[in-house]
Protein backbone atom coordinates (compact mmCIF):
# COMPACT_ATOMS: atom_id res chain seq x y z
CA UNK A 1 0.00 0.00 0.00
CA UNK A 2 0.94 3.65 -0.20
CA UNK A 3 2.25 3.67 3.36
CA UNK A 4 5.82 4.61 4.11
CA UNK A 5 7.13 1.32 5.43
CA UNK A 6 10.56 2.74 6.27
CA UNK A 7 10.76 4.34 9.67
CA UNK A 8 7.84 6.25 11.15
CA UNK A 9 4.68 6.40 9.11
CA UNK A 10 3.89 9.87 7.86
CA UNK A 11 0.16 9.39 8.46
CA UNK A 12 -0.67 10.04 12.11
CA UNK A 13 -3.96 8.25 11.58
CA UNK A 14 -2.08 5.16 10.39
CA UNK A 15 0.13 5.27 13.50
CA UNK A 16 -2.97 5.57 15.71
CA UNK A 17 -4.76 2.66 14.02
CA UNK A 18 -1.67 0.49 14.42
CA UNK A 19 -1.35 1.45 18.09
CA UNK A 20 -5.02 0.65 18.75
CA UNK A 21 -5.18 -2.75 17.01
CA UNK A 22 -3.44 -5.95 18.14
CA UNK A 23 -1.22 -6.99 15.19
CA UNK A 24 -2.33 -3.75 13.53
CA UNK A 25 1.14 -3.17 12.05
CA UNK A 26 0.26 -5.73 9.37
CA UNK A 27 -1.94 -3.09 7.74
CA UNK A 28 1.14 -1.69 5.98
CA UNK A 29 1.40 -4.91 3.98
CA UNK A 30 -1.96 -4.29 2.27
CA UNK A 31 -1.62 -5.03 -1.46
CA UNK A 32 -4.86 -3.26 -2.39
CA UNK A 33 -6.08 -6.55 -3.89
CA UNK A 34 -9.68 -6.05 -2.79
CA UNK A 35 -10.25 -9.61 -1.53
CA UNK A 36 -11.74 -8.05 1.60
CA UNK A 37 -14.45 -6.02 -0.13
CA UNK A 38 -15.19 -8.87 -2.51
CA UNK A 39 -15.67 -11.27 0.41
CA UNK A 40 -17.83 -8.93 2.47
CA UNK A 41 -21.52 -9.91 2.73
CA UNK A 42 -22.37 -6.27 3.39
CA UNK A 43 -19.74 -4.54 1.23
CA UNK A 44 -22.34 -3.09 -1.14
CA UNK A 45 -23.76 -1.06 1.76
CA UNK A 46 -20.41 0.46 2.76
CA UNK A 47 -19.36 4.02 1.85
CA UNK A 48 -15.88 2.62 1.18
CA UNK A 49 -14.76 -1.02 1.13
CA UNK A 50 -12.01 -2.07 3.56
CA UNK A 51 -9.43 -1.88 0.75
CA UNK A 52 -10.29 1.77 0.12
CA UNK A 53 -10.38 2.46 3.87
CA UNK A 54 -6.81 1.17 4.23
CA UNK A 55 -5.59 3.47 1.44
CA UNK A 56 -7.40 6.37 3.12
CA UNK A 57 -5.80 5.56 6.49
CA UNK A 58 -2.37 5.65 4.83
CA UNK A 59 -3.31 8.99 3.28
CA UNK A 60 -4.23 10.34 6.74
CA UNK A 61 -7.87 10.96 5.79
CA UNK A 62 -9.03 10.57 9.38
CA UNK A 63 -12.25 12.56 9.14
CA UNK A 64 -13.48 10.79 5.97
CA UNK A 65 -12.81 7.35 7.46
CA UNK A 66 -14.19 7.96 10.94
CA UNK A 67 -17.39 9.61 9.69
CA UNK A 68 -17.99 6.86 7.09
CA UNK A 69 -20.47 4.05 7.65
CA UNK A 70 -17.96 1.34 6.70
CA UNK A 71 -17.05 -0.09 10.10
CA UNK A 72 -20.67 0.09 11.26
CA UNK A 73 -21.71 -2.07 8.32
CA UNK A 74 -19.19 -4.73 9.37
CA UNK A 75 -21.05 -7.77 10.73
CA UNK A 76 -17.88 -9.38 12.20
CA UNK A 77 -18.15 -12.44 9.94
CA UNK A 78 -14.34 -12.58 9.52
CA UNK A 79 -14.48 -13.64 5.84
CA UNK A 80 -12.10 -10.78 4.96
CA UNK A 81 -9.71 -11.70 7.77
CA UNK A 82 -9.76 -15.34 6.79
CA UNK A 83 -9.10 -14.55 3.11
CA UNK A 84 -6.59 -11.70 3.34
CA UNK A 85 -3.39 -12.89 1.60
CA UNK A 86 -1.36 -10.61 3.88
CA UNK A 87 -2.91 -11.83 7.17
CA UNK A 88 -4.18 -8.37 8.06
CA UNK A 89 -6.59 -8.55 11.01
CA UNK A 90 -9.24 -6.64 9.05
CA UNK A 91 -12.21 -7.31 11.34
CA UNK A 92 -10.14 -6.19 14.34
CA UNK A 93 -9.21 -3.01 12.48
CA UNK A 94 -12.94 -2.39 11.93
CA UNK A 95 -13.43 -2.72 15.72
CA UNK A 96 -10.58 -0.27 16.22
CA UNK A 97 -12.20 2.22 13.82
CA UNK A 98 -15.50 1.84 15.69
CA UNK A 99 -13.75 2.66 18.97
CA UNK A 100 -11.93 5.64 17.51
CA UNK A 101 -15.11 7.00 15.89
CA UNK A 102 -16.99 6.77 19.20
CA UNK A 103 -14.14 8.34 21.21
CA UNK A 104 -13.75 11.20 18.75
CA UNK A 105 -17.47 11.83 18.44
CA UNK A 106 -17.50 10.94 14.73
CA UNK A 107 -19.88 7.98 14.77
CA UNK A 108 -22.81 9.60 13.05
CA UNK A 109 -24.04 7.13 10.47
CA UNK A 110 -25.36 4.27 12.54
CA UNK A 111 -27.42 3.31 15.56
CA UNK A 112 -24.82 0.66 16.37
CA UNK A 113 -23.02 2.76 19.02
CA UNK A 114 -26.31 3.26 20.88
CA UNK A 115 -27.01 -0.46 20.75
CA UNK A 116 -23.51 -1.24 22.02
CA UNK A 117 -23.85 1.23 24.91
CA UNK A 118 -27.30 -0.07 25.93
CA UNK A 119 -25.99 -3.63 25.82
CA UNK A 120 -22.89 -3.03 27.91
CA UNK A 121 -24.66 -0.75 30.43
CA UNK A 122 -26.97 -3.65 31.25
CA UNK A 123 -24.05 -6.08 31.48
CA UNK A 124 -22.33 -3.76 33.92
CA UNK A 125 -25.43 -3.56 36.06
CA UNK A 126 -26.35 -7.25 36.14
CA UNK A 127 -23.35 -9.20 34.83
CA UNK A 128 -25.49 -10.79 32.15
CA UNK A 129 -27.00 -9.57 28.95
CA UNK A 130 -30.74 -8.90 29.09
CA UNK A 131 -32.44 -9.17 25.73
CA UNK A 132 -35.77 -7.60 26.68
CA UNK A 133 -34.02 -4.72 28.44
CA UNK A 134 -31.86 -4.06 25.40
CA UNK A 135 -34.78 -4.25 22.99
CA UNK A 136 -37.05 -2.03 25.04
CA UNK A 137 -34.53 0.69 25.95
CA UNK A 138 -32.58 0.81 22.73
CA UNK A 139 -35.51 0.50 20.34
CA UNK A 140 -37.70 2.90 22.29
CA UNK A 141 -35.12 5.66 22.17
CA UNK A 142 -33.52 4.96 18.81
CA UNK A 143 -35.94 3.08 16.59
CA UNK A 144 -39.52 3.50 17.84
CA UNK A 145 -41.02 2.54 14.47
CA UNK A 146 -38.98 -0.60 14.40
CA UNK A 147 -40.18 -1.43 17.89
CA UNK A 148 -43.75 -1.20 16.64
CA UNK A 149 -43.03 -3.45 13.66
CA UNK A 150 -41.27 -5.97 15.89
CA UNK A 151 -43.99 -6.06 18.52
CA UNK A 152 -45.79 -9.02 16.92
CA UNK A 153 -42.57 -11.00 16.87
CA UNK A 154 -41.88 -9.94 20.46
CA UNK A 155 -45.28 -11.24 21.52
CA UNK A 156 -44.64 -14.56 19.77
CA UNK A 157 -41.27 -14.86 21.47
CA UNK A 158 -42.91 -14.10 24.81
CA UNK A 159 -45.64 -16.68 24.18
CA UNK A 160 -42.95 -19.29 23.46
CA UNK A 161 -41.18 -18.48 26.72
CA UNK A 162 -38.21 -16.99 24.89
CA UNK A 163 -38.38 -13.49 26.30
CA UNK A 164 -37.43 -13.06 29.96
CA UNK A 165 -38.96 -9.89 31.37
CA UNK A 166 -36.55 -9.68 34.28
CA UNK A 167 -32.75 -9.82 34.14
CA UNK A 168 -30.52 -12.44 35.73
CA UNK A 169 -27.99 -10.98 38.13
CA UNK A 170 -24.70 -12.74 38.84
CA UNK A 171 -23.73 -13.21 42.49
CA UNK A 172 -20.48 -11.28 42.45
CA UNK A 173 -21.48 -8.34 40.29
CA UNK A 174 -19.29 -6.10 42.48
CA UNK A 175 -16.23 -8.08 41.46
CA UNK A 176 -17.10 -7.66 37.79
CA UNK A 177 -17.64 -3.94 38.30
CA UNK A 178 -14.27 -3.58 40.07
CA UNK A 179 -12.59 -5.29 37.10
CA UNK A 180 -14.40 -3.09 34.59
CA UNK A 181 -13.62 0.11 36.51
CA UNK A 182 -9.94 -0.76 36.74
CA UNK A 183 -9.78 -1.66 33.02
CA UNK A 184 -11.50 1.59 32.13
CA UNK A 185 -9.08 3.58 34.29
CA UNK A 186 -6.05 1.86 32.71
CA UNK A 187 -7.34 2.34 29.17
CA UNK A 188 -7.88 6.05 29.80
CA UNK A 189 -11.06 5.86 27.77
CA UNK A 190 -14.72 5.60 28.71
Amino acid sequence: MVADTHGAHRSKFLRDVIADTPDGEKIVHCLQCGSCGGSCPNGAEMDYTPRAIFAMIAADRREDVLTSNTMWQCVSCYFCTSRCPQDIPITEIMYSLKRMAIREGKARKSDAPALAKTFTDLVEKYGRSFEFGIASRYLLFNRPMSMLKSSGMGMSMFAKGRLALTPTRIKNVKQLQAIINKARELSQHD
Binding site: D20, P41, T120, R162, R184
Partner: protein
Protein backbone atom coordinates in the same frame (compact mmCIF):
# COMPACT_ATOMS: atom_id res chain seq x y z
CA UNK B 1 -14.97 -36.79 29.86
CA UNK B 2 -15.48 -33.68 31.92
CA UNK B 3 -15.71 -30.03 30.88
CA UNK B 4 -16.42 -26.64 32.38
CA UNK B 5 -19.54 -25.30 30.66
CA UNK B 6 -20.12 -21.69 29.66
CA UNK B 7 -23.76 -21.50 28.47
CA UNK B 8 -23.79 -17.77 27.66
CA UNK B 9 -26.67 -15.35 28.17
CA UNK B 10 -28.75 -16.32 25.12
CA UNK B 11 -29.03 -19.89 26.34
CA UNK B 12 -30.74 -18.70 29.52
CA UNK B 13 -33.82 -17.26 27.81
CA UNK B 14 -34.13 -16.75 24.05
CA UNK B 15 -32.29 -19.95 23.19
CA UNK B 16 -33.21 -22.15 26.15
CA UNK B 17 -33.86 -24.95 23.64
CA UNK B 18 -30.13 -25.01 22.90
CA UNK B 19 -29.16 -25.27 26.58
CA UNK B 20 -31.78 -27.91 27.25
CA UNK B 21 -30.75 -30.06 24.30
CA UNK B 22 -27.01 -29.63 24.98
CA UNK B 23 -27.45 -30.90 28.54
CA UNK B 24 -29.76 -33.77 27.53
CA UNK B 25 -27.53 -34.95 24.66
CA UNK B 26 -24.24 -34.77 26.56
CA UNK B 27 -25.79 -36.55 29.52
CA UNK B 28 -26.97 -39.33 27.19
CA UNK B 29 -23.45 -39.58 25.75
CA UNK B 30 -21.84 -39.74 29.19
CA UNK B 31 -20.12 -36.36 29.02
CA UNK B 32 -20.01 -34.39 32.27
CA UNK B 33 -20.69 -30.65 32.01
CA UNK B 34 -20.02 -28.50 35.07
CA UNK B 35 -21.50 -25.03 34.66
CA UNK B 36 -18.93 -22.34 35.32
CA UNK B 37 -19.77 -20.77 38.67
CA UNK B 38 -21.05 -17.18 38.43
CA UNK B 39 -19.97 -16.63 34.82
CA UNK B 40 -20.64 -13.22 33.27
CA UNK B 41 -21.67 -12.08 29.79
CA UNK B 42 -18.89 -12.26 27.17
CA UNK B 43 -19.99 -8.88 25.77
CA UNK B 44 -20.67 -10.33 22.30
CA UNK B 45 -19.36 -7.80 19.77
CA UNK B 46 -20.52 -4.80 21.80
CA UNK B 47 -17.59 -4.24 24.19
CA UNK B 48 -15.00 -4.62 21.45
CA UNK B 49 -16.74 -1.77 19.61
CA UNK B 50 -16.18 0.53 22.58
CA UNK B 51 -13.17 -0.35 24.69
CA UNK B 52 -10.83 -3.23 23.99
CA UNK B 53 -9.27 -3.43 27.45
CA UNK B 54 -12.69 -3.56 29.12
CA UNK B 55 -13.78 -6.15 26.54
CA UNK B 56 -10.87 -8.49 27.23
CA UNK B 57 -11.02 -7.97 31.02
CA UNK B 58 -14.73 -8.83 31.15
CA UNK B 59 -14.06 -12.01 29.17
CA UNK B 60 -10.91 -12.85 31.15
CA UNK B 61 -12.96 -12.95 34.38
CA UNK B 62 -14.66 -16.06 32.98
CA UNK B 63 -11.34 -17.71 32.12
CA UNK B 64 -10.08 -16.89 35.61
CA UNK B 65 -13.17 -18.50 37.19
CA UNK B 66 -12.39 -21.93 35.70
CA UNK B 67 -11.27 -23.97 38.72
CA UNK B 68 -8.29 -26.31 38.93
CA UNK B 69 -10.57 -29.34 38.41
CA UNK B 70 -11.07 -28.28 34.78
CA UNK B 71 -8.74 -27.33 31.96
CA UNK B 72 -11.30 -27.27 29.14
CA UNK B 73 -14.13 -24.79 28.74
CA UNK B 74 -16.92 -25.57 26.29
CA UNK B 75 -19.12 -22.86 24.77
CA UNK B 76 -22.09 -23.58 22.47
CA UNK B 77 -22.61 -19.97 21.30
CA UNK B 78 -20.51 -18.63 18.43
CA UNK B 79 -19.82 -15.21 19.96
CA UNK B 80 -18.97 -16.62 23.40
CA UNK B 81 -16.68 -19.24 21.84
CA UNK B 82 -14.80 -16.70 19.75
CA UNK B 83 -14.52 -14.13 22.55
CA UNK B 84 -13.18 -16.60 25.09
CA UNK B 85 -10.72 -18.10 22.61
CA UNK B 86 -9.67 -14.73 21.19
CA UNK B 87 -9.01 -13.30 24.65
CA UNK B 88 -6.86 -16.25 25.67
CA UNK B 89 -4.83 -15.76 22.46
CA UNK B 90 -4.54 -11.97 22.88
CA UNK B 91 -3.27 -12.41 26.43
CA UNK B 92 -0.71 -15.00 25.30
CA UNK B 93 0.61 -12.90 22.42
CA UNK B 94 0.44 -9.33 23.69
CA UNK B 95 2.38 -8.87 26.96
CA UNK B 96 1.43 -5.18 27.32
CA UNK B 97 -2.27 -6.00 27.14
CA UNK B 98 -1.80 -8.96 29.49
CA UNK B 99 -0.17 -6.67 32.02
CA UNK B 100 -3.20 -4.37 32.01
CA UNK B 101 -5.74 -7.21 32.08
CA UNK B 102 -3.80 -8.73 35.00
CA UNK B 103 -4.20 -5.46 36.89
CA UNK B 104 -7.92 -5.31 36.09
CA UNK B 105 -8.45 -8.92 37.24
CA UNK B 106 -6.43 -8.22 40.39
CA UNK B 107 -8.89 -5.45 41.26
CA UNK B 108 -11.44 -8.27 41.52
CA UNK B 109 -9.03 -10.58 43.35
CA UNK B 110 -8.56 -12.84 40.31
CA UNK B 111 -5.72 -13.94 38.07
CA UNK B 112 -5.37 -15.89 34.84
CA UNK B 113 -2.42 -17.48 33.07
CA UNK B 114 -2.94 -17.57 29.28
CA UNK B 115 -3.15 -21.10 27.90
CA UNK B 116 -4.34 -22.61 31.18
CA UNK B 117 -7.87 -23.05 29.85
CA UNK B 118 -8.45 -24.68 26.50
CA UNK B 119 -11.54 -23.07 24.95
CA UNK B 120 -13.51 -25.51 22.79
CA UNK B 121 -16.67 -25.32 20.76
CA UNK B 122 -19.38 -27.84 21.51
CA UNK B 123 -19.26 -29.29 17.96
CA UNK B 124 -15.54 -30.00 18.39
CA UNK B 125 -16.24 -31.87 21.64
CA UNK B 126 -18.93 -33.98 20.02
CA UNK B 127 -17.07 -34.58 16.75
CA UNK B 128 -13.56 -35.08 18.09
CA UNK B 129 -13.76 -36.20 21.72
CA UNK B 130 -16.96 -38.24 21.68
CA UNK B 131 -16.47 -39.26 18.06
CA UNK B 132 -18.37 -41.24 15.44
CA UNK B 133 -18.24 -44.70 17.03
CA UNK B 134 -19.68 -43.62 20.37
CA UNK B 135 -22.36 -41.50 18.74
CA UNK B 136 -23.38 -44.09 16.13
CA UNK B 137 -23.60 -46.75 18.83
CA UNK B 138 -26.26 -44.69 20.63
CA UNK B 139 -28.47 -43.90 17.62
CA UNK B 140 -31.92 -45.42 18.11
CA UNK B 141 -33.85 -43.25 15.62
CA UNK B 142 -31.86 -42.83 12.41
CA UNK B 143 -32.69 -39.57 10.63
CA UNK B 144 -33.07 -41.21 7.23
CA UNK B 145 -35.46 -39.37 4.95
CA UNK B 146 -34.93 -36.02 6.62
CA UNK B 147 -33.09 -33.39 4.56
CA UNK B 148 -30.99 -31.24 6.90
CA UNK B 149 -29.05 -28.11 5.95
CA UNK B 150 -26.11 -27.65 8.35
CA UNK B 151 -25.57 -23.95 8.98
CA UNK B 152 -22.21 -22.94 10.50
CA UNK B 153 -22.45 -19.14 10.44
CA UNK B 154 -19.31 -17.12 11.03
CA UNK B 155 -17.62 -17.01 14.37
CA UNK B 156 -17.40 -20.72 15.05
CA UNK B 157 -15.47 -21.37 11.85
CA UNK B 158 -13.61 -18.04 11.51
CA UNK B 159 -11.02 -16.90 12.42
CA UNK B 160 -9.79 -19.14 15.28
CA UNK B 161 -11.68 -22.38 14.84
CA UNK B 162 -8.76 -24.80 14.56
CA UNK B 163 -10.93 -27.88 13.92
CA UNK B 164 -12.75 -27.21 10.65
CA UNK B 165 -12.36 -25.38 7.35
CA UNK B 166 -13.21 -21.66 7.55
CA UNK B 167 -14.55 -21.53 3.99
CA UNK B 168 -16.20 -24.89 3.58
CA UNK B 169 -16.67 -26.54 6.96
CA UNK B 170 -17.74 -30.19 7.02
CA UNK B 171 -17.84 -31.46 10.62
CA UNK B 172 -21.55 -30.87 11.17
CA UNK B 173 -22.29 -32.37 7.73
CA UNK B 174 -20.32 -35.47 8.66
CA UNK B 175 -22.02 -35.80 12.05
CA UNK B 176 -25.46 -35.79 10.48
CA UNK B 177 -24.32 -38.39 7.96
CA UNK B 178 -23.43 -40.59 10.95
CA UNK B 179 -27.04 -40.13 12.08
CA UNK B 180 -28.40 -41.23 8.71
CA UNK B 181 -29.80 -37.86 7.61
CA UNK B 182 -29.75 -36.62 4.03
CA UNK B 183 -27.27 -33.77 4.34
CA UNK B 184 -27.90 -30.84 2.03
CA UNK B 185 -24.72 -29.45 0.48
CA UNK B 186 -25.66 -25.82 -0.17
CA UNK B 187 -23.27 -22.97 -0.98
CA UNK B 188 -23.99 -20.50 1.84
CA UNK B 189 -23.52 -22.75 4.87
CA UNK B 190 -20.78 -20.54 6.36
CA UNK B 191 -22.21 -17.16 5.30
CA UNK B 192 -23.44 -14.49 7.69
CA UNK B 193 -26.95 -14.24 9.21
CA UNK B 194 -26.49 -10.51 9.80
CA UNK B 195 -25.72 -10.78 13.51
CA UNK B 196 -26.96 -7.74 15.38
CA UNK B 197 -27.81 -5.93 12.12
CA UNK B 198 -31.51 -6.76 12.66
CA UNK B 199 -31.33 -4.20 15.50
CA UNK B 200 -29.53 -1.57 13.44
CA UNK B 201 -30.70 -1.66 9.85
CA UNK B 202 -33.49 -4.09 9.03
CA UNK B 203 -33.38 -4.00 5.19
CA UNK B 204 -29.72 -5.04 5.22
CA UNK B 205 -30.26 -7.71 7.84
CA UNK B 206 -33.29 -9.08 6.02
CA UNK B 207 -31.30 -9.40 2.79
CA UNK B 208 -28.61 -11.47 4.53
CA UNK B 209 -31.27 -13.69 6.11
CA UNK B 210 -33.13 -14.06 2.78
CA UNK B 211 -30.01 -15.35 1.02
CA UNK B 212 -29.65 -18.16 3.55
CA UNK B 213 -33.31 -19.16 3.60
CA UNK B 214 -33.54 -19.04 -0.19
CA UNK B 215 -30.47 -21.19 -0.72
CA UNK B 216 -31.55 -23.83 1.81
CA UNK B 217 -35.03 -23.78 0.27
CA UNK B 218 -33.71 -24.18 -3.29
CA UNK B 219 -31.73 -27.20 -2.15
CA UNK B 220 -34.96 -28.60 -0.67
CA UNK B 221 -33.93 -28.67 2.96
CA UNK B 222 -36.57 -29.79 5.49
CA UNK B 223 -34.80 -28.07 8.39
CA UNK B 224 -31.80 -25.80 8.95
CA UNK B 225 -29.44 -26.83 11.76
CA UNK B 226 -27.93 -23.99 13.80
CA UNK B 227 -25.00 -23.88 16.19
CA UNK B 228 -25.41 -20.28 17.32
CA UNK B 229 -28.28 -18.56 19.19
CA UNK B 230 -28.05 -15.40 17.09
CA UNK B 231 -28.24 -17.38 13.84
CA UNK B 232 -31.26 -19.29 15.10
CA UNK B 233 -32.98 -16.11 16.25
CA UNK B 234 -32.41 -14.29 12.98
CA UNK B 235 -33.47 -17.17 10.75
CA UNK B 236 -36.43 -18.28 12.86
CA UNK B 237 -37.92 -15.25 14.61
CA UNK B 238 -37.36 -12.88 11.68
CA UNK B 239 -38.49 -15.35 9.00
CA UNK B 240 -42.02 -13.94 8.98
CA UNK B 241 -40.80 -10.36 8.63
CA UNK B 242 -38.36 -11.39 5.89
CA UNK B 243 -41.28 -12.99 4.03
CA UNK B 244 -43.27 -9.78 4.47
CA UNK B 245 -40.37 -7.66 3.25
CA UNK B 246 -39.61 -9.68 0.10
CA UNK B 247 -43.01 -11.20 -0.63
CA UNK B 248 -41.54 -14.69 -0.14
CA UNK B 249 -43.20 -17.60 1.63
CA UNK B 250 -40.38 -19.46 3.35
CA UNK B 251 -41.54 -21.82 6.05
CA UNK B 252 -38.30 -23.43 7.11
CA UNK B 253 -37.96 -24.79 10.64
CA UNK B 254 -34.69 -23.66 12.27
CA UNK B 255 -33.45 -25.94 15.06
CA UNK B 256 -30.29 -26.30 17.09
CA UNK B 257 -28.19 -29.23 15.90
CA UNK B 258 -28.26 -30.72 19.39
CA UNK B 259 -32.08 -30.91 19.25
CA UNK B 260 -32.04 -33.16 16.21
CA UNK B 261 -29.04 -35.11 17.48
CA UNK B 262 -31.15 -35.74 20.58
CA UNK B 263 -34.01 -37.09 18.44
CA UNK B 264 -31.58 -39.54 16.82
CA UNK B 265 -30.43 -40.62 20.28
CA UNK B 266 -34.07 -41.32 21.21
CA UNK B 267 -34.51 -38.49 23.71
CA UNK B 268 -38.05 -37.19 24.28
CA UNK B 269 -38.64 -34.11 22.10
CA UNK B 270 -39.97 -32.18 25.09
CA UNK B 271 -36.65 -32.61 26.85
CA UNK B 272 -34.95 -31.16 23.79
CA UNK B 273 -36.78 -27.84 23.80
CA UNK B 274 -38.87 -28.45 20.67
CA UNK B 275 -41.88 -26.15 20.42
CA UNK B 276 -39.96 -22.98 21.23
CA UNK B 277 -39.12 -22.27 17.59
CA UNK B 278 -41.56 -19.88 15.85
CA UNK B 279 -41.62 -21.97 12.67
CA UNK B 280 -42.68 -25.30 14.09
CA UNK B 281 -40.23 -28.16 13.47
CA UNK B 282 -42.12 -31.12 14.89
CA UNK B 283 -44.56 -31.76 12.00
CA UNK B 284 -41.87 -32.16 9.33
CA UNK B 285 -39.63 -34.22 11.60
CA UNK B 286 -42.47 -36.58 12.53
CA UNK B 287 -43.74 -36.92 8.97
CA UNK B 288 -40.30 -37.68 7.51
CA UNK B 289 -39.19 -39.98 10.28
CA UNK B 290 -42.15 -42.33 10.68
CA UNK B 291 -43.94 -40.29 13.36
CA UNK B 292 -45.12 -43.20 15.48
CA UNK B 293 -41.81 -43.73 17.26
CA UNK B 294 -40.22 -40.27 17.13
CA UNK B 295 -39.62 -38.52 20.39
CA UNK B 296 -41.21 -41.28 22.43
CA UNK B 297 -37.85 -42.15 23.93
CA UNK B 298 -36.31 -41.66 27.32
Amino acid sequence: MKYAYYPGCSLEAGSAAYDKSVRAVLDQLGVELDELNDWNCCGATEYFSQNELVATSVIARNLALVDSEHDQLVAPCAACFLNLKKTDKLLAEHPAMKCQVDAALAAGGLSYKPGRVHVRHLLDILYTDVGPEAIKAKVVQPLSGLRVAPYYGCQIVRPLNGFDNPEYPMKLDEMFEWLGAEVVDYPVKAHCCGGHMTQISEPEAFELIRRLLQSADEYKADVILCMCPMCQLNLDAYQGRVNGHFGTSFKLPIVFFTQLLGVALGIDMKKLGFGKELVSAEPVIRSKLDGSSVGAGT
